[in-house]
Amino acid sequence: MANYESRNFSGIAEETNYRKSRYGMVIDVDRCTGCGACVVACAVENNVAPAPPAATDRTGITPIRVYKVDNGLPFPDIRSVFFPITCQQCEHHTPCVSVCPQNAVALDESTGIVGQIPVRCLGCRYCIVACPYHARYFNWWDPTWPAGMEKTLNPDVSPRMRGVVEKCNFCFHRLQAARSKAAIEGKKDIDPADYVPACVAACPTQAMTFGDLLDENSGISRLAKNANSFRLLENLGTEPKIYYRSDQEWVKRLAENDLTEKEKPNG
């Protein structure tokens, strides 16, 4: 007890909290070759276990998943793009956060990242139902690796147990690492170069741009304002922080999700 009261904070950090930031992504679908590097990089970085033989494309775990989308026209007028879909980090009454019965998911005030806490999750899957982007995944199986492969697990991320929901959190552990690095150098603000999610770092064509949307002179805040940038299901009003950009008109039309449209795109 005694020592508790006598805690002294002679820290170099005069302000106890980190500068407010809003991390987001701009994905240029015109540059996505669908190579799958982001998917693998993510799975490796976040200790996603290989899908068991019984898994389907609807029971596997892909915090980032690439959809092939076309303009719905017949051959040879068909045109298609790849859409990497990850958690869209909704800013405004975040669907998954509001429904979770036991606060297993929360929007981090200082970074705007929606963080899922598997150990708090009871696996009711209400959040999966609530998410319009299908960016949340349930661990239908115990995570199992072929013999010896568990040696390759990333110590910065804890493997999820069976029966809980998980999702992309912009590789938050990389932000943590960047903060520790800054702390050692006596700095509070991280070097933006130190914090890039695995998928973004892995994209060979640099189709993904990551950064702080609040930072006026960051590349992303400029890209996000670009006329060719849009967000999926924008008019649901959940203010997602992942932007997509394309020069193709039919792709841009995906922003206005009118399902009755004659050219219904296909996933």
């Binding site: 669908g34 998917v39 115990d142 697990l153 064509t205």
Partner: protein, 727 residues
Amino acid sequence: MAKGITRRDLLKLIGGSAVGLMLTPIPWKVLDETAKWSQNWSWTPVPRNGKVNFKHTTCYLCPMSCGARVRCVEDQPVSLMGIPNHPISGGGLCAIGLGGHLLPYHPSRLLQPHRVARENGRIKIVPISREESLSAVTEAILSSKQGSIAILDGQPKRAISFAYRKFLAGLTNGVYIVPPIDAGVPAELTLRVLGERNLSIGFDMENTRTILSFGAPVLDGWGTLGQFSKIVRNRTGNNKLKVIQVESIHSRTAQLADQWVPVKPGTEAAFALAIANVLINEKLCDAQKLRTHSTDFDNGSGHSFLDLAEKFSPASVAERSGISEDKIVGIARELVSQPGADASPARKKPSLVAFGGATFSRDEQIIFMDLNILLGAIGTKGGLIPRTELPDPIGGRLTEETPLTDVPDHSVRVLILDGAESGTLFPWQMLEQKFVPNSPVVVSLSPYFSGIALHADYLIPSPSYLESCNDSPTPAGAPTASYSISTPILPAPKTVVEPLDVIRRISAATHSNSGNEIQPLKELFKNRIEKIFKQRRGFVFDASTGETVKLTTIYSSGQLMKILSDGGCWYDKEFGVRSSEFGVLYSFLGRDNHGFEKLLAAADHHLGDSGLVLLPYAANVGQSHQLMTKVYRESNLREPGNEASINPETANKLELIDGGSAVVKTGNGISKVKVKFDRGIMPGAIQVAVGPIVTGYAETGEQNILEVCKISNDSTWRITKAEIFPA
């Protein structure tokens, strides 16, 4: 009180303790504890923590030789990433490369030699000792009086490749086999175009204006990762390179290309000649050279490229290829047009023709090369440029490289399959037809029991990726020569065998001492690096600093060795020969090129409009790798090997259901497939993806789909007529 404990008393006792229990910590603590237990289940693995450090190496899982930065916890690699500003990979890594550190633990990994027993179609592998395996192989070799001893090398021109060739040279009947296709340019085609120089062809795509690609994955798996990623990256620029994709399916590259030309399958060569026709008639090519070189014919046939092209007027090709006449003319003009009318020769950028080698017959490929000559794309910056080959690390007499297609049938007695992943895929049938009829022996040196290794009789696994040292020569299709080394990060298990030891042991037993003279790999690398160092040309990339310096600033070959063994890379920036020497190329369109009849036939052949066409389709290595099962199912990016994509309208006519199973039947046999509706497939065509069959992570299937494709003796697999019905 008189009588003792009654039943009711007992109940009371229990009742009392029940009430009491609620007032103890027991129930609440246990509730809390079990919850915490469920958060730390013992069977959920806990990653090992430790000091984090980074190492560099070069990926050799395909010939693209990308630089890889390895993140290790203590000594254990936990993730791979590209090396920023790496001259070859440009800082990228493909899907298979990013999972490379998982491969040593892949379920189909072999940790010791095995003998493969096949009884009534079932494959069983029996572990045997290193000694048994090696002696079994030498037995087979010694007993092979007739028939040859062959080594199939997936990635030629490595140091080990030279070791193989040296070893085979020592044998009386040694044959050194290389894969048939070299990034769209068949090796002997290169020879015919460039003459007997020690050169190979690369695509200088970065300086090209327009690429006319015949089914080549120029935007998602062509040349080097750095090369095509850079093109995709710069797609949104004003002076960007234009890609015209001529392909019957809406492939990845077609999707990214600036223009997609959906020709009818099999009419690509005709389409190319139609382009040539326009170029010639509209005088859009060097008419002078053309006249001097390709109009006089002494080969009696009296034919020339000119009147070959004459036969394919845009009008005639239009209806057979399904592409309108003016579109063809437009493309032809597009290819030669320059930004700004007064394009000075200095600023002049050529256009080039690329073609997905595997699916075209050699004659068709020659036609495409002819078009390249016509466009003046060969030997010029931004075209197809000859590269100097890397120095031979070993010296002495070597067996010649023989493309698989040139190996005579029924000639191979013992075949040793090197473990290296080839950039190109070919069906087992191609090898099978080369064997002598009675009991040939196949030995696989692959670390994995998958792919063609499934056909082996003996498995002598070599160390896997990240366990073995290897060198990466110039990637196929890369514009200039380059060299890098893959240094092991993990110790190899004691029970696996280095390929070099295998050939050493064999040559010792066969008293052909050629093998024993071979120095250890490290020495071979050293020799090579010394020779490169002596050339005093090119640049050196240092992975640890991320900087590139002129080779001349490196003071010793030792220093160069050190840089390269830490994920560094040497690369050339100059062409093999000056472009001035290439005028003679035009003669290839005339005198030097015999048999226009064959070309005519190749261009004329089309499968007719009746019936279905089977289009085999292999995406880049990352997409079609044997062991690439990490993203299976979890993502709908990848066509698994047993999936047949087909246009819904065609499918409905044939009463096929999306996701249902069906049987594909061709002249070569039948294959069971899963039907996938895809409006990106031309009606009347079936696209079968070449790659591992979808199973769990535990098993990787064999790519059997190629087996049903027509195997012509001049190429690997070809589009062919097919039927499909619901199973």
